[in-house]
């Protein structure tokens, strides 16, 4: 018996402990190097973009319309287009997403339909963004006749970020302790009164965090908006949701795709503006998340 065990050990393990520890050290360093590589990549990317574009970021750049001459071109129309589009995306996706999350967490019976809805949301989260663009093109631009408008773009992006909004709102609502609901129902409040006055206020910071993260995804989306025909050369800012528009990522794409170095510089400058907007939104989300953790 003891012979058999030692034979097995010999098969599985090197009997010299220092060898085994050496493998452990090597493995640790390989894993560490892989993680460090990801960090280095981020640093290289940021430095590369700053080096090429930092000199071009200026008030003039924010305040000028696109131009054939890179030294005169700016991102005014793209910046306003992005704000309009993301704003409307929020207005559409917030009520739909939070409503769906409340239904799934608080009302939905455990039946096949609920299961279908939940599986479906998980599947939608994995659909490539360009497919949403095809949907937006056929339904919003053509069938509903919205044209290449801010509204068509925002509706497309709203469907794209909906799974993110629903899933994060569900988590926020689920995190509210059941005792709160029992207290509400116990003093005779209806289910909606309990939700409206007790559950949702507590879940709100969490819902808002998810919403900001969803919109920070929308702000960087390019492909679906190219599909619905958001144009690159737009020399005006939108004044209604039915106006044509362009957005920052599309402007960046257009400049990056040109061979001239001058356009690459302003593409990098546009990226810097985009990343600053993104990091601000993420920082906001983190602050909200920390606030929430302190309160509960």
């Amino acid at each position: 018996m003891s012979n058999a065990t030692s034979a097995m050990t010999a098969l599985e393990f090197d009997l010299r402990p220092e060898r085994r520890r050496l493998w452990g050290t090597i493995f640790l360093w390989v894993c560490f190097a892989a993680t460090a590589l990801a960090v280095v990549m981020l640093a290289v990317l940021l430095i590369d973009i700053l080096r090429q574009g930092a000199a071009r970021v200026s008030m003039d750049f924010l305040n000028s319309y696109p131009s054939r001459f890179p030294e005169r071109a700016g991102i005014k129309s793209a910046l306003f287009g992005t704000m309009w589009t993301v704003g409307f995306t929020g207005l559409i996706s917030f009520p739909l997403g939070v409503g769906a999350a409340i239904y799934l967490e608080e009302y939905a019976p455990r039946n096949w339909l609920t299961r279908v809805i939940e599986t479906n949301i998980a599947n939608l989260a994995g659909v490539p963004s360009i497919v949403y663009g095809v949907l937006g093109l056929a339904v919003f631009v053509r069938a509903m006749g919205l044209g290449r408008s801010v509204l068509a773009g925002a509706a497309t992006l709203a469907l794209l970020v909906l799974p993110v909004v629903i899933i994060s709102s569900q988590e926020a609502i689920r995190a509210v302790p059941p005792s709160i609901r029992q207290a509400g129902l116990g003093i005779g409040a209806t289910q909606w009164q309990t939700l409206q006055h007790l559950v949702l206020p507590i879940a709100f910071p969490g819902i808002l965090t998810g919403m900001i993260l969803a919109l920070s995804r929308a702000i960087g989306e390019t492909a679906p908006l190219i599909m619905i025909g958001a144009l690159t050369f737009i020399a005006f800012t939108p004044s209604s949701p039915m106006d044509e528009f362009t957005v920052l990522p599309i402007q960046i794409f257009n400049w990056a795709a040109r061979p001239q170095a001058g356009f690459h510089e302003i593409a990098a400058a546009g990226i810097i503006v985009l990343l600053i907007a993104l990091l601000t939104m993420n920082a906001l989300a983190i602050v909200l998340r920390n606030r929430l953790q302190k309160d509960l």
Binding site: L28, F32, T35, G99, Y103, Y132, G220, M227, P249, N282
Partner: protein, 312 residues
């Protein structure tokens, strides 16, 4: 006591039952919320209907057999050829290249974060990975074009401005955070008792991690791999910028190729008239892309469900 109850019952609207308007309101709200829940189903239905409907129009002119097995893709100029294989091959070339980079790096990072990293290091590294995951894909495309491609051309001077390798590398970088964070969750979920049992048998940390923890988390790790590959296939802007627009059946990553996603972008950037066969190609290619990624997503969840090791 009984008197007061009787009295309150007789007062209108003060009984235990809800008033009629309140009941209606409750039911109305429930109905509205249910409709919100249905929007996700409608979205999926919309995607399927649009893709299938427009593709049927396309397949009236081009046989599905020709589409799926043809090796030439030239719908935008004469003579027109509608063989989608070069686009599929382009997508696969990028996805495989990206996986070669992202799967090992992502898994190793996940192991480091879950098993080795001190808590403070972890607190710094996790947000950095989140930032990497949140960077817009067009930014990665720019990075590929202005940084990675020139670097490749230093090593292989014959490489074109547009090449599959650059796209594959940048898509690889892009999906590392996804592999790392999903695999880390899977590794984290392995119960402590398993590790302790392994230590108790005299195994070192390395032996415990590679022979006990990782195998126990394997279903989650494989699921994260599949999701990441599906993401690489659906990636659009970075490959459009970096890989070029030359549909080609090739295994050489230094050549310009075209992916399914980049083709769809190319058509919608041009001025192809609505309703023509050229225009309808984007729906046929879109349907193929949607089917491939959907199948991979479903497969990934099946693996999670079917092969998960359940510990109490």
């Amino acid at each position: 006591m009984t008197d007061t109850i009787a009295a309150s019952r007789s007062l209108p609207g003060h009984g235990l039952a809800l008033s009629k308007t309140r009941r209606l309101k409750e039911r109305g709200i429930r109905g509205i919320l249910f409709v919100c829940g249905l929007v996700s189903i409608l979205t999926t239905a919309g995607i399927v209907i649009v893709l299938v409907w427009e593709s049927i129009g396309f397949f009236r002119d081009v046989s599905p057999w020709e589409f799926l097995t043809g090796t030439k893709w030239t719908p935008l100029f004469k003579p027109q050829n509608f063989g989608v294989l070069p686009l599929v091959a382009g997508s696969l070339l990028v996805a495989i290249g990206a996986s070669l980079i992202a799967l090992p790096i992502g898994l190793a990072s996940a192991i480091y974060l879950a098993e080795y990293a001190p808590r403070r290091t972890r607190k710094v590294l996790k947000p950095i990975l989140e930032i990497l995951a949140g960077i817009p894909t067009v930014v990665y495309g720019y990075f590929a074009l202005t940084f990675i491609t020139p670097l490749i051309r230093v090593v292989f001077p014959d490489t074109g401005i547009f090449n599959a390798a650059s796209a594959a590398i940048v898509v690889g970088i892009m999906i590392v955070p996804m592999v790392a964070s999903l695999s880390e969750d899977a590794i984290y979920a392995v119960p402590r008792q398993l590790r302790e049992a392994s230590y108790g048998l005299g195994a070192t940390k390395y032996e415990t991690v590679t022979r006990v923890v990782v195998p126990a988390a394997l279903s989650g790790i494989v699921a994260s791999f599949i999701l990441a590959i599906s993401r690489a296939i659906g990636e659009t802007m970075a490959v459009t910028l970096a890989a070029g627009a030359t549909p080609k059946l090739t295994l050489n990553p230094l050549e310009s190729i075209q992916t399914m996603t980049a083709y769809i972008v190319q058509v919608s950037l041009g001025d192809t008239p609505f309703g023509t066969i050229e225009y309808k190609t984007i729906f046929a290619v879109g349907l193929l892309l949607f089917s491939i990624t959907l199948a991979m997503n479903i497969f990934s969840r099946m693996i999670l469900r079917r092969f998960r090791e359940v510990y109490e």
